[in-house]
């Protein structure tokens, strides 16, 4: 079945084509076509996965390639690989995408561009599936860009809204800044070893060549492998919303909520983490390589920064957005400390519960008509299915035993503990903060009493709640593939390309993780559900705290800082450049023209009145200048045209006569 893996991205792509062209004439206005396509992809993925699992540890990746651009001495290939990493991603993407599409039937009901929405969703999934299967960096880059394009189209789906169109553009541009890094990283690899095929690039031989080749970049000397992997990581920083390129993601909430779910769980942000995992041998060219450290610390900074912002936001989707950034930071941390399996494990579990949370928030928005959690409260009564699934996903995200998030978070903490204590402590703090802000969100949304009597909440239709239930189920059980003792997930992902250290389960670390999570839940309960909330509110009036709150609430003013140091200067430069173009460059041109005219006038005058007799020499010069000037007059140019035309006709004549 692996032979037919190319069908997995192709089917949703064909669904896209069909819906774009046939649209409303299709069953379900295109929705059923999209869902049928995604179901087929899911089915093929499951069959492939089943085949791989039954083969156990002796599973051979299937690699197929074909030449795309052969030029010069070498060839750029396209092709696909079905290996364990790809299979994990295939399942995650197809499951989440299918749930999102089913849910969208209800959520997007009545939208003016309903078929187009399903077309774009299909295309988005197809691009991501292509990226997962690609066995060549160039193909990965192509799909990577297509993922970016689809996010642009979907975030800006309601393009009449100025905020939505700006968010879409911001997402595209910020991630494209990252793409330049990926592109240059790719070229560095290509120049270093002359291939972009992952099989060649990631082989022991190539990696050790690239690790031994030292190049100087400014004052630093770096191995080629570090340079290449840092380039790739910069791409991942853009796509996976890591600091400092995370700013597009919260704004991307302007897209329809199912899109947010897809972006946050399966298609877009997962791409960066997946890419780092995919090219992991390049990062891990040596133990504690500079690249791995950069990945780990970027992840840690991102995880903590985003979590603090999550404390302060009031928009239900924005809280979740910062939670996503924070969790992506966790995944990067895991990868950075050598936890290849841990990072991917968290990617998988997170996909299920974050999709659930986003779809749940969509259900809440659908039911209440607002996104501001200050206006909600007490929704538990009115939206029981949404509430319970949301709670399960929150517990999973907070890392409560035995839900999915517990196992994957524990795996990351465990790896970090053995590799880098700083990262470990950052992870512990992050885990506490996650539990706190997620509990805060649940409490403010669902518990207590309704705070706005205008809102008459109602439960969403079944087509929306069934996906929630499926995802909640996965949020419970998905972690059980990576149990201590018999870690099926780690065994499955095992690859000969990597020397992965495996650390034995530590009860102590699991206890620490659970304790901080429970403490976070408890603290949130105290702060928001007990009379202590008044004390907290009073504390919030102290100027220091107010400053901190305002700093965090405003996302550390990063958007504003970028505005001041990058965007506004850039636009100022464009205006200066245009002024230079108009007044200096073009001014010079016009000045030369004016001078020529002036000089020839003077010369003409001199010629005519002063040197008339002597002057054949100057006459020639003047005629030379005049020759140019005369062409500016239409009459002469027509003559000139005539001469040329006659010449051409003569040419034809000669040719035809000679050729007989």
């Amino acid at each position: 079945m692996s032979e037919y893996a190319w069908l997995i991205p192709l089917i949703p792509f064909l669904a896209f084509v069909a819906i774009i062209f046939a649209g409303r004439r299709l069953p379900g206005h295109g929705a059923y076509v999209a869902i049928a396509g995604m179901s087929a992809s899911l089915l093929i993925s499951l069959v492939i996965a089943a085949g791989a699992i039954t083969h156990g540890g002796h599973f051979e990746p299937v690699v197929r390639t074909a030449a795309w651009i052969p030029y010069g001495y070498s060839t750029l290939n396209v092709g696909f690989t079905v290996d364990a990493l790809a299979i994990v991603m295939l399942i995650v993407v197809t499951v989440v995408a299918l749930m999102v599409q089913v849910y969208s039937i209800g959520y997007m009901h009545g939208d003016a561009r309903y078929p187009r929405f399903f077309a774009f969703l299909s295309m988005f999934s197809a691009a991501m599936l292509g990226l997962v299967l690609a066995n060549n960096l160039l193909v990965i880059y192509i799909c990577w860009e297509l993922v970016g394009l689809c996010s642009y189209l979907l975030i800006g789906f309601w393009f009449e809204r100025p905020t939505a169109m700006r968010a879409a553009k911001k997402a595209f541009l910020v991630t494209r800044v990252g793409d330049v890094g990926l592109f240059l990283g790719m070229l560095t690899i290509y120049m270093g070893i002359g291939s972009l095929d992952l099989q060649t690039v990631l082989s022991h031989e190539s990696v050790s060549t690239m690790a031994k080749t030292i190049v100087s970049v400014g004052p630093w000397a770096l191995p080629l492998a570090a340079l290449a992997s840092l380039g790739i990581f910069w791409g991942a920083v853009g796509k996976s919303a890591q600091f400092p390129l995370h700013v597009w993601l919260p704004d991307a909430m302007e897209g329809p909520t199912p899109v947010s779910a897809l972006i946050h769980a399966a298609t877009m942000v997962a791409a960066g983490v997946y890419l780092v995992a995919r090219t992991y041998p390049l990062f891990a060219y040596s133990d504690h390589s500079i690249s791995l450290n950069v990945v780990a610390y970027t992840g840690a900074i991102t995880a903590l920064m985003a979590a603090t912002i999550g404390f302060t936001q009031y928009d239900i989707k924005r809280v979740l957005a910062y939670s996503t950034i924070s969790q992506l930071g966790f995944m990067m941390m895991g990868l950075g400390v050598g936890g290849y399996v841990a990072g991917m494990f968290h990617l998988m579990t997170h996909a299920f519960f974050k999709a659930n949370l986003f779809l749940g928030s969509g259900s809440v928005i659908h039911g209440t008509g607002t996104q501001d959690i200050r206006e909600m409260g007490g929704l538990k009564k009115h939206m029981p299915r949404t509430f319970w699934t949301f709670i399960i996903a929150t517990a999973a995200l907070a890392g409560i035993f035995p839900l999915a998030g517990f196992w994957s978070k524990d795996e990351i903490l465990l790896t970090a503990f053995h590799a880098d204590k700083t990262i470990f402590y950052a992870g512990v703090i992050g885990a506490f903060m996650t539990a706190f802000y997620m509990s805060r969100l649940c409490i403010l949304t669902f518990l207590g009493e309704p705070r706005d009597e205008h809102i008459h909440a109602h439960e969403s239709p079944r087509v929306m709640t069934v996906p929630l239930i499926v995802l909640a189920f996965l949020a419970v059980v998905a972690g059980w593939v990576g149990l201590p003792g018999k870690n099926l997930f780690a065994e499955f992902l095992h690859t000969d390309l990597l020397h992965l250290e495996h650390h034995a389960f530590s009860l102590g670390i699991a206890a620490v993780g659970t304790a901080v999570a429970l403490f976070g839940v408890l603290l949130a309960y105290i702060v928001y559900m007990t009379p202590a909330s008044r004390t907290v509110a009073a504390l919030g009036q102290i100027s220091v705290f107010r400053f901190i709150h305002s700093l965090v609430y405003n996302k550390y003013w990063l958007d504003e800082i970028y505005g001041v140091i990058i965007i506004r200067p850039l636009f100022a430069v464009t205006r200066w450049m245009f002024a230079i173009d108009r007044w200096i460059i073009d001014g010079t041109v016009n000045a030369v023209g004016w001078l020529t005219v002036a000089i020839s006038r003077v010369q003409g005058w001199v010629d005519k009145w002063i040197v008339d007799g002597l002057v054949n020499l100057i006459g020639i010069v003047t005629r030379g200048a005049g020759l140019i000037l005369r062409r500016t007059q239409t009459g002469v140019a027509q003559q000139y045209a005539m001469v040329m035309l006659l010449g051409l006709l003569a040419l034809v004549y000669f040719y035809l006569i000679r050729a007989g």
């Binding site: 651009i69 297509l146 240059l184 070229l187 060549t209 450049m577 041109v589 140019a637």
Partner: protein, 598 residues
């Protein structure tokens, strides 16, 4: 029938001229006839040019479909020939011309209301000139077409242009003339130098390749040719005629100007400057690459500052053509092939952008961006086309722009990682101004009631855009089958002409004052060269052998395929140093090598 197949290229060249003459002879006022006759002619010429593509044999470097006849004798010798042919480089530019001309004619259907007879005749005569430029294999013939083509363009802008058309026309003509005349001087000089060396008077391009030139003469002639082409491209800072010409030109004029005319500059670099003056070209790579990169970034930045849509697209052309020039001056197969793909891709995507601007102008009679907004709602089909073309212009994979930019950046990386990084940043800037344009015109709320219910594209307009967009996809998805396969042999030959099988190292040795040189060898051989005055430079690459002359560092970079094993250097570095002399010994090397001496 046999005449048709034997003279297919000449027929393609002169059929438009004949049709133009017929139109001019017809009584004025038969407007439907002018439109349909010229459109049908355009389609027929395109149809006739297709055998050039289908019958083109890949793998042959030299020109095909060659036709020749003696034309003018000079000094008792048959010096000037009518000689035309297409090779893997010019083939695509000829096809681009025959493809865009009927598109441009069809786009003018309702836009041109005055002097229709002269308008359509000018377009057809222009087509003859443009195809002739790309097909000419005789320098004299080339120059005639090069100049003849200016006249119909002059009328197109000067008679059917916007309010400021006289200024724009004069500027366009004077700029171009200035370069052309110097080029004419250089052509004639080359003619005599060639005679002095060989005793043969000829303007035949391939005979003139390899004319031995002294360093100084070569630089002067290169300068004269390069100036003419740089104005045409246009290379920064010679570009200011372009925005004015585009803004004033009618839609068809802009399409042809951006689509075809600008390519004459880059084509000229590739066809004339590189093979005729290899050492000067190699020596001036840093200068021209720098101008190209300035163009890429500067064009993008200035494009952002525009309010007039046409002006924005014009500046974007400066950036796109910067990519082409950069690619050509990498002297690498990737760079040059990327440059050619980019030429065609730019012709299609920018041509389509001008068509789109024209369509919206016909509806609203303004090109001021601030007058638009939210049009996508009223014009969904238009919006889809506009989006695809926008994405092609910013190099999205799957569309033609990506293939060109990607290969150019690969080529640039081979010369210098800094070039590649700067060019790649231009890709981001392109996205900034194009998405901004799209956002301001198509998205957002409809604030101006005039935009609320604009009619969507008519059937004719869809017919205009559809083939262009189809080609953008076709090239983007199948670059090899559609373009790269055919051009490969010709591009290789051009590179070999530039690098010389073993000529170039000695050329560098002849002129030790050159700051830069480029070595190339294919197969085996040995060279001995003097590298005094070569500037030291650190190489950044995986597979390098290092040599040093005094304080000078010389990097040799063996081609990455097959990758070298071990320490990332060739097993026996072919570079040996003896005092101020550098010995290159490839007699035992099993790989191709290309390297730079800095």
């Amino acid at each position: 029938m046999q005449t048709l197949t034997e003279h297919i290229l000449s027929i393609v060249i002169f059929l438009p001229l004949a049709a133009g003459a017929i139109i001019l002879l017809a009584p004025p006022g038969a407007n439907r006839f002018f439109k349909w006759f010229s459109f049908v002619t355009g389609v027929v010429v395109f149809g006739l040019s297709l055998p050039l593509y289908t019958g083109f044999r890949s793998g042959i470097a030299g020109p095909q479909f060659v036709e020749q006849a003696p034309w003018i004798s000079l000094f008792g010798q048959q010096a000037i020939w009518y000689r035309v042919g297409v090779d893997g480089i010019s083939l695509f530019l000829v096809l681009l011309t025959t493809f865009l001309t009927p598109v441009a004619i069809l786009s003018s259907w309702n836009a041109i209301t005055t002097r229709q007879r002269e308008f359509y005749a000018s377009l057809l005569i222009l087509e003859t000139g443009m195809i002739g430029v790309f097909a000419a294999l005789d320098m004299f013939l080339f120059y005639i077409f090069w100049e003849a083509m200016l006249i119909p363009m002059y009328f197109l802008i000067g008679m059917w242009g916007g309010p400021n058309r006289v200024y724009a026309t004069i500027k366009f003509i004077l700029f171009t003339m200035f370069g052309s005349l110097l080029m004419l001087v250089a052509i004639i000089a080359l003619f005599f130098v060639h005679h002095r060396a060989t005793g043969v008077y000829t303007f035949d391009l391939f005979s003139l390749y390899g004319t031995p030139l002294t360093g100084r003469a070569e630089f002067l002639m290169f300068g004269a040719f390069a100036l003419a082409f740089a104005i045409k491209v246009p290379l920064w800072p010679l570009h200011t005629w372009l925005p004015d010409a585009h803004v004033e030109a009618p839609t068809a004029g802009s399409v042809i100007l951006a689509g075809v005319l600008l390519k004459m500059g880059t084509y000229g670099f590739l066809r004339f400057c590189l093979p005729l003056f290899p050492s000067a070209s190699a020596a001036l790579v840093p200068v021209i690459a720098a101008l190209a990169i300035i163009g890429i970034i500067y064009g993008a930045l200035v494009a952002y500052a525009q309010q007039d849509i046409k002006r924005l697209v014009a500046y974007s052309s400066v950036a796109h053509l910067g990519f082409v020039t950069l690619g050509i001056f990498t002297f690498s197969i990737e760079g040059i092939e990327g440059g050619i793909v980019q030429m065609v891709s730019h012709g299609l995507s920018t041509g389509a952008l001008f068509l789109i601007v024209g369509m919206i102008y016909e509806r609203r009679h303004t090109r001021d961006m601030s007058q638009f907004g939210g049009i996508w709602k009223a014009m969904p089909v238009f919006g889809a086309f506009f989006l695809i073309v926008t994405l092609a212009s910013i190099g999205l994979p799957g569309l033609s722009g990506f293939v060109g930019e990607f290969l150019v950046i690969v080529g640039a990386y081979k010369v210098s990682a800094v070039y590649a990084a700067l060019a790649a940043s231009g890709v981001v800037l392109a996205a900034v101004y194009m998405l901004w344009l799209y956002q301001r015109m198509m998205q957002g709320p409809v604030e101006n009631p005039e935009n609320a219910d604009l009619p969507d594209l008519s059937f004719r307009e869809i017919v205009v855009l559809l083939p262009v967009v189809a080609l953008i996809f076709l090239i983007g998805v199948f670059p090899r089958a559609t373009m790269l396969r055919q051009m490969d042999a010709s591009v290789r030959q051009t590179i070999e002409l530039v690098e010389g099988r073993n000529g170039l190292p000695s050329r560098v040795a002849e002129s030790p004052e050159l700051p830069v040189g480029r070595l190339g060898c294919r197969g085996t051989g040995a060279w001995d060269m003097d590298v005094r005055g070569a500037r030291p430079r650190t190489w950044m690459s995986g597979a390098i052998g290092f040599g040093a002359v005094g304080s000078q560092a010389i990097g040799m970079q063996p081609h990455p395929n097959p990758p070298l094993k071990g320490e990332g250097a060739s097993p026996n570095p072919p570079v040996k140093v003896d005092g101020d002399r550098l010995l290159l010994d490839f007699t035992s090397a099993s790989h191709d090598a290309v390297g730079n001496v800095r």
